[in-house]
Symmetry: C2
Subunit: 348 residues, 2 copies
Amino acid sequence: MTFSTNTSAHSRASLAVSVKLPSSESQNTVLAYLSQDYIALPPGTSVAEAQALFCSGIKNEQIPSQIFVVDDDDHLFGLVPVKSLLQADKEALLSDLMRSVGFSLTPEKTRHEACVEIKKSASNYIPVLSYGKLKGVLGPLEIAQLLEDENTLDSQLQGASSPLETPYLQSSVFTLWRKRSVWLLLLFVAEAYTSSVIKSFEDQLEAAIALAFFIPLLIGTGGNTGTQITSTLVRAMALGEVGLKDLGAILRKEISASVLIALTIGTAGFIRAWMLGVGMEVMMVVSLTLIAITVWSAIVSSIIPMLLRKVNIDPAVVSAPFITTLIDGTGLLIYFEIAKVMLTDLAV
Amino acid sequence: MTFSTNTSAHSRASLAVSVKLPSSESQNTVLAYLSQDYIALPPGTSVAEAQALFCSGIKNEQIPSQIFVVDDDDHLFGLVPVKSLLQADKEALLSDLMRSVGFSLTPEKTRHEACVEIKKSASNYIPVLSYGKLKGVLGPLEIAQLLEDENTLDSQLQGASSPLETPYLQSSVFTLWRKRSVWLLLLFVAEAYTSSVIKSFEDQLEAAIALAFFIPLLIGTGGNTGTQITSTLVRAMALGEVGLKDLGAILRKEISASVLIALTIGTAGFIRAWMLGVGMEVMMVVSLTLIAITVWSAIVSSIIPMLLRKVNIDPAVVSAPFITTLIDGTGLLIYFEIAKVMLTDLAV
């Protein structure tokens, strides 16, 4: 019985409360999810001793999949899978069974970074180390909570709203107003330039009022194309499937796909304009604008999530409203410029 | 040693391959995630025997948190937490430690339903039963995979695209075109009625061309308001926080919040119209339209996800493009009807 008491399973339990800081600063880091529900023993512990300590040290229904091997100062040497421990010869020492630590996290790591790394590593019992010292673990429950909180954040951001800190039904009307109106006002100010764009083409519009019929259809389609791309990319980035290095491959893929989509939608637009009886010239303008807006939207929507990642902003902020706002104004410019060139009575 | 060999840990292992059907029908049910990595023993097994079988039966790094107590026909009686098993008196029988099964799933349950139930139950080791017979388990790894697949589906749906079956970078250009153009064309057809709406107000528009300046701003803001609400509700429904029974509470909350938001945005719209110098009448029309569209959008966006859930459609299909398409046309109607009433030179 040579193990130091300060590394036994029991002394650990007392730490559990002190480390959970609910301060807003630590809420988005690994620290907020840290569990003290682990067993750490010195390398000289015998298997028989470790087995007994393991069995008596289990604190809840969740069985740890690993125990840790540490020195007197909590520096982590390695780990022993509980499978090996339970199946090993009772005379052996933990140092005989010890494996190196493949994957660990630091307490300061942000939740977003931790999510990407956890998904890549596919670990579900992760030691958290600060300067080599074991500070706690993330077990399956903590990991599930961390991933779910991040998914909730992503889905709130994708709806262009600040995340709610409380469950929906407990959130007050005032909280909803505060969380949402900030984003709505920002989007409103950004979208307001569309009015200036249309005003600057007032003469063209008066000469061919039929151009106004297609404004929502054209900019709406541009926004939808972009939203499809960003939502796919934002998710692929959250899963760690794509990163900055793939920008070239993504652009090639998205531009090629968008040309096919543009031809499909351009044809649909031609038919729709024909149904409204607006004349061949406007039909051509609508059709060409749809093609141009679709490809333009694809390029913008492929680049922006990558750019944000580059400057360390969570790409999940690129929501549908964000893309819509960006494409609406530039789409109108494309529309009226094409109209200016194509419509003979405007080409004065 | 009276336990029947066909319920021992070893004979289970051989089942693992045969049950994983990769058919597309089973892909979205619990069956596709079923693991055979569990230990089931008869109730008469002694603790000493069960401990030895448990230790030798661990097949991978993941330690089961429960063992199951079954009869000769695999009917599930109850479960024994591994914590109790490892800490119990060796002379006791499993039947002495046995607890009732609190939560189980059936293999046919859809992934979407399973997600909601798993989140509610907070279980991370779940027996899967068919007519009372134990067919397998969902352990922490399987549960994590199931939740992640569902989150990926939700985020693809929220982007108004059919889900990709392959990782993004492995998906071909043709696949992207196929998955996306179906949705885009549907949205295009739905959005196309906006052209008819504007055409039907052609006279009003010619009389007051300034009305056209605000079309993207007004319908964009309506769409953004709705997107904020649906994304919050869709997520809250996925987490099991709200259900159909909460419709009244949701409507009360959302309508109250939207009135506050409408007044905020209405003021912003008044200022923006004033900046463009369009005259007091159009300023009033823009401001009133923003107020009406915001409240209208809140009502529609609160009800639709609930209606879809009612008819068993995954509410995650209510994406930003879906809401935008719905609000664009109705928003234009509201706009031009208000204009007809308010603008004196149109009121002929």
